[in-house]
């Protein structure tokens, strides 16, 4: 029998880049895990369903320790999709694959073909996925971001003309500007940009983050609530002040 080698329908293999959260633990792991638990407790479900990459560059650990660490993650329902910076000797069967070539997305070379994603939860397939033609450093959302929706734009600033509802999130590589009430989550400098800021006309946020540093609603000064506010990063601390 001859095998037909050229089937009319070919398999389409495409390259696509995704934004993953990178966790870089440090030793001793117990302390680090305690801090992770603390963050997870205050921001329930933050890691749920998100791609997480484990960065173990320069960590003096062996295979057993890595295995243990992975077990700790799976106990916490954090699924690691890949391991970065691991010596081949410490990787074993049943571990996530090694990843190479990860770059902070603020890297100019990556921003060649930015994709604007205005996505709903994974369950909601649609919602506009707009592809831009030329390099864009900012997007403008002209309607409220509703509960359950995420705006993810690693390439630059996000401006929302309207409110961000409780249970919605805006994640920007650059700064986040909300011309309305910020009730949900805002994350600026999500891919490593400490100079990013968050601005909003009325502060009621559930969670704020700049360059990976988090602040929960209860950590915020009550005097900022309901006010026009800007937030920025000084060292490892999120600073906030009212505008005007």
């Amino acid at each position: 029998m001859t095998k037909v080698l050229t089937d009319a329908r070919s398999i389409r293999i495409k390259g696509r880049s995704f934004l993953a959260v990178v966790l870089s633990p440090d030793l001793p792991f117990d302390d680090w895990l305690a801090r992770l638990d603390d963050l997870a407790a205050r921001s329930a479900g933050f890691f749920l369903g998100r791609p997480v990459v484990l960065d173990v560059t320069d960590l003096p650990i062996d295979r057993a320790q890595l295995k243990e660490l992975l077990a700790e993650f799976s106990q916490r329902n954090v699924s690691i999709m890949g391991i970065e910076g691991a010596r081949p000797s410490i990787l074993g069967q049943g571990m996530p694959p090694a990843l190479k070539g990860g770059r902070p997305v603020s890297d100019e070379a990556v921003a060649k073909e930015p994709v604007i994603e205005l996505q709903n939860n994974p369950a909601d397939s649609k919602s506009a996925v707009v592809e831009s033609r030329q390099p864009l450093q900012s997007i403008i959302i002209r309607e409220p971001v509703r509960s359950g929706q995420s705006v993810i734009f690693p390439e630059g600033d996000v401006t929302v003309i309207g409110s961000v509802a409780s249970g919605a999130e805006v994640i920007a590589g650059g700064s986040v500007h909300i011309y309305g009430t910020l009730r949900g989550r805002a994350m600026a400098g999500s891919v490593g940009n400490a100079s990013a800021r968050i601005f909003c006309r009325k502060m009621e946020a559930e969670l704020l983050a700049i360059d990976g540093i988090y602040k929960m609603a209860e950590d915020m000064a009550p005097s900022l609530r309901g006010k026009p506010v800007q937030l920025w990063l000084e060292g490892d601390t999120i600073m906030a002040e009212t505008l005007i």
């Binding site: 709903n120 369950a123 909601d124 397939s125 649609k126 919602s127 309607e143 409220p144 509703r146 509960s147 359950g148 929706q149 309207g162 409110s163 509802a165 409780s166 249970g167 919605a168 009430t181 009730r183």
Partner: protein, 271 residues
Amino acid sequence: MGKVIVVTSGKGGVGKTTSSAALGAALAHKGDRVVIVDFDVGLRNLDLVMGAERRVVYDLVNVIQGEAKLSQALIRDKRLETLFLLPASQTRDKDALTPEGVETVITELKRVFDWVICDSPAGIERGATLAMRHADIAVVVTNPEVSSVRDSDRIIGLLDAKTAKAERGERIEKHLLLTRYDSNRAERGDMLKVDDVLEILSIPLIGIIPESMDVLRASNIGAPVTLADARSAPAMAYFDAARRLAGEVLPITIPGEKRGIFGKIFGRKAA
């Protein structure tokens, strides 16, 4: 071609079925041909609220699966000639609804009726998404409390993403119907105020239905509140909402806020 309205909310127990029945009866009252379709397969209630529970023979699922003709499943209201009900099945679940089946039924109903009102089940799953799928207009039913408002916000996001109209790049018309509003409790801060809800949801308001015993009484006797007692406060609010749905521009009054003459005198004395 008739218009398709989905009455939806995300959260359960906020008054979707009550509002579907009341708005449907109010629209039929002025002579429009109206059908109310119960999409809550497995937990049907609309037949009870409409007082037609003993007259259900065939239902939506029978029609979708080709076991009955649409005309056999439609139940004509005993009080209003132009008001019809298409009941849900109580013995099946939402998986019995197919996208193609729903589309065929809605298309057929649109040809015959001026208004097709889809009473959505709670939640954001299959039943709810199929109920909103072919809507031209959405009535988002919300109670003045935070969980209902957030769920409504979620539903509005879905209306803009998952309806056939949205997928064609058009915008679905969305209206807010605030139900179970109690001005005293809003005043005391036990409930959200109208402005707070409007600020969060930012869609146009089509009516405010006051919290009232009349609504419960009407449900229990199996009549839409607009038919049970057309002069009651909730019925009048529903009649106004129905007129706004039909395109009339009417000022909205917040129930309880136009104080009576006693309130005014009392207010002056206190000052």
